[in-house]
């Protein structure tokens, strides 16, 4: 078994925490997990990506075109991540547009971006994680909402139990653990409603 999960977003959105939680949950489920992160020049606001590989793997980086799942925490970054996609890649994307502060270019609307993304990829799940997180009281829960969404659409659930994820959230995240677990469940529920 080998699963390549490519995470992309904007600095400060909690990608590393997301990967640590899922990686730890994989370990608890008896699977090897490798998480590779790149610390860029700024702590906030730049593009960031994290490679999460689960199963029988050695190399820390996912080769281009070989992501099984892309989790994009921001819409523009989802397009940048398409280099890692192939025809079977599942994309879970946050319905959130973060304008690069220094660009003067005209940026398409959220709906335009979503429909463009759907043209380029067969399987795209759009999740309003940001607003769901705000409903829970803090944008910081955005990443766990995304994790819940990923969990319910991917093969991850075949190998890792929700219990393992909950345990891992408790280990990795220091504050507001219950709220984070709740955010994870909210994320799972979002996909179910989308399917109906």
């Amino acid at each position: 078994m080998k699963m390549n999960i490519y995470l992309t977003g904007v600095g400060g959105q909690g990608l590393i925490t997301f990967a640590s939680v899922l990686g730890q949950a994989a370990l608890h489920s008896g699977l090897k997990a490798l998480v590779a992160e790149t610390h860029g020049l700024s702590q906030r606001g730049g593009s960031v990506d994290v490679h999460l590989r689960i199963g029988n793997v050695h190399a820390p980086l996912i080769p281009r075109g070989n992501a099984d799942i892309i989790v994009a925490f921001e819409l523009l970054e989802a397009f940048r991540a398409l280099n890692y996609a192939n025809d079977n890649t599942v994309i879970v994307v946050n319905k959130r547009l973060i304008r690069p502060p220094t660009t003067r270019a005209k940026i398409p609307s959220i709906n335009e971006l979503v429909s463009e993304l759907r043209k380029m990829n067969n399987t795209v799940y759009v999740i309003d994680a940001y607003n769901e997180a705000l409903k829970l009281g803090n944008a910081i829960f955005e990443n766990m909402v995304m994790l819940g969404a990923l969990y319910s659409v991917s093969d991850v659930s075949k190998f890792i139990s929700t219990k393992a994820i909950e345990e891992s959230i408790k280990e990795v995240i220091k504050r507001e653990r219950e709220e984070n677990i709740k955010a994870f469940h909210v994320g799972m529920g979002l996909i179910n409603t989308q399917r109906q």
């Binding site: 050695h58 190399a59 944008a139």
Partner: protein, 606 residues
């Protein structure tokens, strides 16, 4: 466990007593982890003022007979080269583990130098792990090897070991192995020429015994076919997975020590082969040495590696480029990897200043005041968060090469233009203490008329907010004591006052004086961490906003965005209440949601 944490944990298991370092990506988490466990273990650990000092602290401890470690990023080792070269001559009494974290691909560095060369240059053995678990194992091996040989050992990490997480087996920490006292031995520890000549001979002898000793290390050799792939470090991971994908029988030899190579082991392995492929991260350090071994042994087989153009010499290895290189070297067909590599035009998202970053305010004020004063300065930049001042809308970093270079290169440009060029050197607080101080001494001593801006955000922020000497030592007082006549300290969040002071300082430089301005305000991330309840956020009154764009175009705060109608909008989840946008708004359209002064005063206490 993060690779760097695995390294630190293993050192604590092995009885580490003294650790020192200077922050630098991708190395910083090693010292941070030791700091987090210093109380329970009794280890002495410090963030030093620069890598040379850090090296000397660890080196001195090891000369006394303690188990010591020093850690830094690859370019930091350049700063520490002076004591490093000497440490090979004197040797050490217990173990000295020198850790360099290289950054192939230059994710957060100015170059991608391969510090395995340093081992050849200095006669210090280099150990190279390929994963966090392997790093933990090899830290223990390196420390015992250093102790056994009475010689420093250099461990070369790379981004994809330091910043990779995988399961790592850990044990209890050991009691720190401190020395009981320092036993004097000047003939071995004092490098006056007469001693040094003697010690050079001893060093060469010791190097021969090291070459012999590395043969017995647990290098991983798998004999499976007439093609031999030699790897070192992180390359081993890519090769293992690539060979599995290519499904061809190939022998592999992963060496623990790229310097010096286990010559006998390599000669034996090659004698079973018709072809050798060398895969390594960085420069062809192993490849060159393998060729040397084969020449010495009189073995003629083709050796394919970076020097032969089979693998990239720029940037880091990936599974894809290793598979391509291996397929080419082995003459096999590469099964096509599918990729939707359509080119999509997405606006770039370069790294930017965080919301409420005091540097953004400082660069804004500097831009306004230099324009008003009609000076066209060269902005001589430096390494730190303020490097990002290179990006629009600021464009205020013209030269930027290495730690502390702002003042030195600025002086050089001043001299090289016969004094005609107006120089503004911009340096951060941690970088000022790291390597800016000697340059400032030179500016005073050799009377260089220029403006030095110290952007003092109270932390070594770019590497994750480590403490900085500025928290203990007042930069303005240091500058005055050195003899800088015009020294100012201002708060960049007080826009009017900052602009007035900068204008005054610019006049002094025009008059041929050296002036220094400390722009002092703590890092916004550090100030707001855990204090979200205190933050007073700002909002835009849409009726008062005239869509002039000054706030979002000139400060470029990520929290401010233009709406469809070009009016400004502040993201309440990002705003940290620095108040700068409110001060620059000509229409008074940006207002705090509470007592902003109280929050800013609290922030100013840091």
């Amino acid at each position: 466990m993060l690779g760097n944490h695995a390294v630190a944990h293993a050192a604590l298991e092995a009885g580490l007593a003294v650790a020192a370092g200077y922050p630098g990506t991708p190395s910083s988490e090693i010292i941070e982890y030791i700091i987090d466990h210093s109380r329970e273990t009794g280890v002495y650990v410090e963030w030093s003022s620069n890598e040379k000092v850090a090296y000397e602290v660890a080196y001195g401890a090891a000369l006394a007979g303690a188990k010591a470690l020093v850690s830094m990023k690859h370019v930091g080792l350049n700063v520490a080269m002076d004591p490093l070269m000497s440490s090979a001559y004197t040797g050490v009494r217990n173990s000295l583990l020198v850790i360099t974290a290289d950054d192939p691909g230059m994710w957060s560095s100015q170059n991608e130098q391969d510090n395995r060369w340093v081992g050849l240059h200095a006669h210090i053995p280099v150990i190279e792990p390929y994963s966090p678990q392997n790093a933990a194992d090899l830290v223990k091996l390196s420390m015992s090897m250093s102790q056994r040989l009475n010689h420093p050992v250099l461990m070369r990490l790379v981004t994809r070991v330091s910043h990779v997480r995988e399961p790592v087996k850990v044990c209890e920490f050991s009691k720190p192995d401190y020395a009981q006292g320092y036993l004097k031995d000047p003939s071995h520890h004092a490098l006056v020429p007469s001693n040094a000549r003697q010690l050079k001979g001893e060093l060469i002898k010791r190097w021969e015994s090291i070459q012999y000793a590395v043969e017995d290390l647990p290098h991983e050799y798998v004999n499976d076919g007439r093609v031999l792939v030699i790897t070192s470090g992180v390359a081993y991971n890519y090769v293992k997975e690539a060979l599995r994908d290519l499904e061809i029988p190939v022998s592999t030899l992963n060496v623990i020590t790229p310097v010096p190579l286990p010559r006998r082991l390599i000669a034996n392995a090659v004698s079973n082969s018709d072809k050798v492929v060398v895969v390594e991260e960085g420069d062809p350090v192993v490849e060159f040495q393998v060729k040397e071994v084969l020449y010495d042994e009189g073995i003629r087989v083709p050796v394919y590696g970076k020097a032969e153009g089979f693998f990239t010499r720029v940037g880091e290895l990936t599974l894809m480029n290793v598979e391509e290189g291996l397929a080419k070297a082995l003459g096999v067909e590469l099964r096509g990897m599918r990729s939707n590599a359509q080119r999509i035009d997405v606006p770039p998202r370069p790294p930017v200043f965080c919301p409420g970053c005091p540097h953004a305010a400082s660069f804004y004020e500097l831009k306004i005041t230099t324009a008003k004063a009609m000076v066209k300065p060269v902005f001589s930049g430096d390494i730190g968060c303020y490097s990002l001042g290179i990006n629009p809308p600021f464009n205020e970093q013209d030269v930027l090469t290495n730690m502390g270079s702002s003042i030195g290169l600025g002086m050089g440009i001043l001299r090289g233009t016969g004094g005609r060029q107006f120089i503004i050197a911009i340096i951060g607080d941690s970088t000022f203490f790291h390597a800016g101080l000697p340059a400032l001494v030179n500016a005073v001593y050799n009377k260089a008329p220029m403006l030095v801006i110290v952007m003092d955000n109270r932390f070594t922020a770019m590497t994750g907010g480590q403490p900085s000497p500025t928290q203990v030592i007042d930069i303005a007082a240091v500058a005055k004591a050195i003899g800088v006549k015009y020294v100012y300290t201002i708060d960049p969040f007080n826009v009017k006052e900052a602009e007035a002071t900068l204008s005054d300082a610019l006049r002094k430089v025009k008059d041929g004086e050296l002036a220094l301005v400390v722009m002092k305000r703590a890092c916004a991330l550090e100030a707001s961490r855990g204090r979200s309840s205190l933050i007073v956020k700002f909002t835009v009154d849409p009726d008062a906003c005239k869509a002039c764009g000054i706030c979002y175009n000139l400060i470029a705060c990520p929290a401010i965005a233009p709406l469809e109608n070009r009016k400004a909008w502040i993201d309440p989840n990002m705003c940290v209440g620095c108040s700068v946008c409110a001060q620059v708004c000509p229409y008074n359209a940006i207002k705090p949601s509470g007592n902003a002064k109280e929050w800013l005063d609290k922030w100013a206490e840091m």
